[in-house]
């Protein structure tokens, strides 16, 4: 107890040095918390937007569809659509099976034209599976019939269009000829998924059948299950039962993110390790310097018969205290900033637009415009623990070094 008090007083003896040392620990802990918050957040954000806006839990299509996806083929339709539907419903009666036709189109207003991905969808089911109205500026679902369009917010912005305005959709039909029609904007949607906001539009399935001259057939169905963990089970069952069918789960779609994140984690680990090594070196140096500055004092303590272990503990306690203060501040700042970004998100849309262009990619993985950090109390505690642990570890050698002081030398001539 008295050692702790003395240690606390001692860290104020060279305030500048103490603050500098604490700052390195601060940076390490801050960085650790922000990095974990981000990397975990990226995973969750991508999984969430993928499930909530694009794939639901499962996407079922023709076996060859994925390899030709970038051409948006309308002839590779989902085989045995009814049978697929009933197999899913039989195993998971509450599952939502949402029929879609994905097609490529030009959106135009007479002045400019923009390539975009069309999603023709059963709006009642889409509403249930994705609650599209939640993302729409109108807060109303997409009508089930009629020439209505939900257009991504970035597209709407580049056309300077709002609800009630008209856009022309021009598309190749199933038989290869061109067709065009005017659609009225029923909602401007911002989902946080750049593929949708920057490059997609929704129209009712029924009106798409006229536009694309495709009275039957779907390019895919997306399935929302009661439990997302069941996706793999459904997928294997479908693929076993239907030779010409492929099912892509939400895990399949987000796999690249997990792989990317593995690399990100390693990168951050290396970075944080470097910071912590710098912090440890600073800490060791601080303890060593203060030990040598206080040689006389240590000699006095030794002469008074203070056990060596307690002198070592005095110095490790000082390091621990510096580490604790630095870590707690780091955890407070990192924790609250990460928490802010968990609630309000980190706007990366500008970055994404630079990388992919305003319309984003049209196929593949969803792209988030906001990263929502994921920070837990245990991560914060882990950060504090890490900072204190590194500090204590770094102080062991220099603190032990004091036991090699010879009180005779120290006291004789000073």
């Amino acid at each position: 107890m008295f050692l702790l008090k003395l240690a606390t007083l001692n860290i104020f003896r060279n305030t500048k040095r103490s603050i500098l040392t604490m700052t390195t620990v601060f940076v390490g802990v801050f960085g650790f918390i922000m990095a974990s918050g981000m990397v975990n957040g990226v995973e969750q954000t991508y999984v969430r937007i993928e499930i909530d806006t694009e794939t639901a839990h499962l996407r079922v299509m023709h076996k060859r569809y994925l390899s030709e996806e970038e051409n948006f083929p309308l002839d590779l339709i989902l085989p045995q659509q009814r049978a697929v539907h009933s197999v899913i419903k039989k195993g998971w009666p509450t599952a939502l099976v949402v029929p879609r036709i994905i097609f490529s189109a030009q959106l135009g207003d007479g002045e400019q034209a923009l390539g975009a991905r069309g999603v023709a969808i059963d709006s009642a089911l889409a509403e249930k599976a994705f609650s599209l109205s939640r993302y729409s500026s109108s807060k109303k679902p997409l009508p089930e019939t009629g020439k209505w369009i939900f257009v991504g917010s970035i597209i709407a912005k580049s056309f300077k269009k709002k609800i009630g305005d008209t856009l022309t959709i021009e598309s190749r039909t199933r038989d290869g000829s061109m067709n065009a029609d005017d659609y009225q904007i029923a909602g401007v949607i911002s989902t946080g998924n750049m593929i949708i906001d920057g490059g997609s539009f929704y129209i009712p399935l029924k009106s798409a059948r006229d536009l694309l001259r495709m009275p039957t057939g779907l390019t895919d169905v997306v399935v929302k299950l009661p439990k997302k963990q069941d996706a793999l089970l459904v997928s294997t069952r479908l693929q076993k039962q239907f030779g010409a069918v492929q099912a892509q789960t939400w895990q399949d779609k987000t796999r690249t993110i997990f792989e990317l994140n593995k690399i990100r984690r390693q990168m951050f680990n290396v970075l944080i390790s470097i910071i912590l090594i710098v912090a440890a070196a600073g800490m060791a140096n601080t303890v060593l310097m203060s030990a040598f500055e206080r040689k006389g004092e240590i000699g006095m303590m030794m002469a008074l018969g203070m056990p060596e272990g307690r002198i070592v503990r005095l110095f490790t306690a000082e390091a621990g205290m510096l580490g604790l203060i630095g870590s707690v501040f780091g955890a407070l700042c990192g924790g609250s900033w990460a928490y802010y970004l968990q609630v309000y998100g980190w706007d990366i849309s500008a970055m994404v637009e630079k990388t992919y262009g305003a319309t984003g990619q049209t196929t593949g993985l969803s792209v988030a415009s906001f990263i929502f950090f994921d920070i837990s109390f245990s991560t914060i505690l882990m950060g504090i623990f890490l900072g204190v642990f590194v500090s204590l570890l770094a102080s062991l050698w220099p603190a032990w070094r004091t036991t090699r002081f010879d009180p005779r030398e120290v006291l004789a001539r000073s």
Binding site: R13, M302, A303, L304, M306, E308, R310, L411, S414
Partner: protein
């Protein structure tokens, strides 16, 4: 009278390079409880070495050192620390007070290290010592806020507070002006006379030597004169041996 310290034919040999230095060369020296002695001699004569020996900071190469009747010649580093902790008070030339602690806490520090007394117990021990040394009013000041003479009083208080068998002081007045030095020595003499505290200190200062009740002169690691020798000679040999083993 019991012996606080007894050196029996003690030699301490340093070997810097090939030519050995006999810092102490066959020194036999007795210090009784309640005695106050000053060690004088030219620089390099072995004063500090003798004090270190008796203060359990060093061990003899030849001969034996007894402290409070206990042979310390072959004790381990750890055991010596424990003996210092319990039995010896030190006063240092440059005070060595802890700057972040108050006067009170600096004195209390010696008791903290012993770890025997409670908070109240420590306070009951520290305050009377501060009062006896006339520094009670400075109890809550930091060392940087008091004079050199006052700092040395605090150091004396820190040595006194654990009621040691003896207090060792290696040139305790070297960092003080002569007036303050004299008052510090007079204070030590007063404590010796009134409380029976045992003191052994080294000095260069003739004025300080004059004040000491017993004066031991060292030269080249040997005792060349000892004003207390007569008293020791008068002691029958049997008693000495008995004291040592007690």
């Amino acid at each position: 009278m019991q012996l606080a310290a007894y050196c029996e034919d003690v030699s301490r040999i340093f070997r810097p390079g090939s030519n050995e230095v006999r810092a102490l060369d066959g020194v036999t020296f007795r210090l009784h409880r309640g005695e106050m002695a000053a060690v004088a001699g030219p620089s390099g004569s072995g004063k500090t070495t003798l004090l270190n020996m008796i203060g359990c900071l060093d061990r003899p190469d030849q001969g034996k050192v007894f402290l409070d009747g206990e042979d310390i010649s072959h004790k381990s580093k750890h055991q010596l620390a424990q003996i210092r902790n319990e039995k010896i008070g030190f006063i240092f030339q440059s005070f060595h007070l802890i700057p972040v602690l108050t006067v009170f806490e600096n004195v209390e520090f010696a008791l903290q290290i012993q770890g025997k007394l409670s908070v109240d117990g420590r306070k009951d021990r520290v305050m009377p010592v501060l009062e006896a040394l006339g520094i009670a009013q400075l109890a809550s000041r930091k060392p940087s806020e008091i004079s050199g003479g006052q700092q040395q009083r605090v150091a004396i208080a820190r040595a006194l507070v654990k009621k040691p068998v003896l207090i060792l002081a290696d040139e305790p007045t070297a960092n003080l002006d002569s007036k303050t030095a004299l008052s510090i020595i007079e204070l030590m003499v007063k404590l010796h006379q009134e409380e029976g505290t045992t003191f052994l200190f080294s000095t260069h200062d003739p004025m300080v030597m004059d004040t000491a009740p017993r004066l031991v002169h060292l030269r080249d690691g040997k005792i060349v004169s000892d004003s207390g020798e007569q008293m020791n000679k008068n002691q029958p040999k049997e008693t000495e041996a008995g004291d040592v083993s007690a």
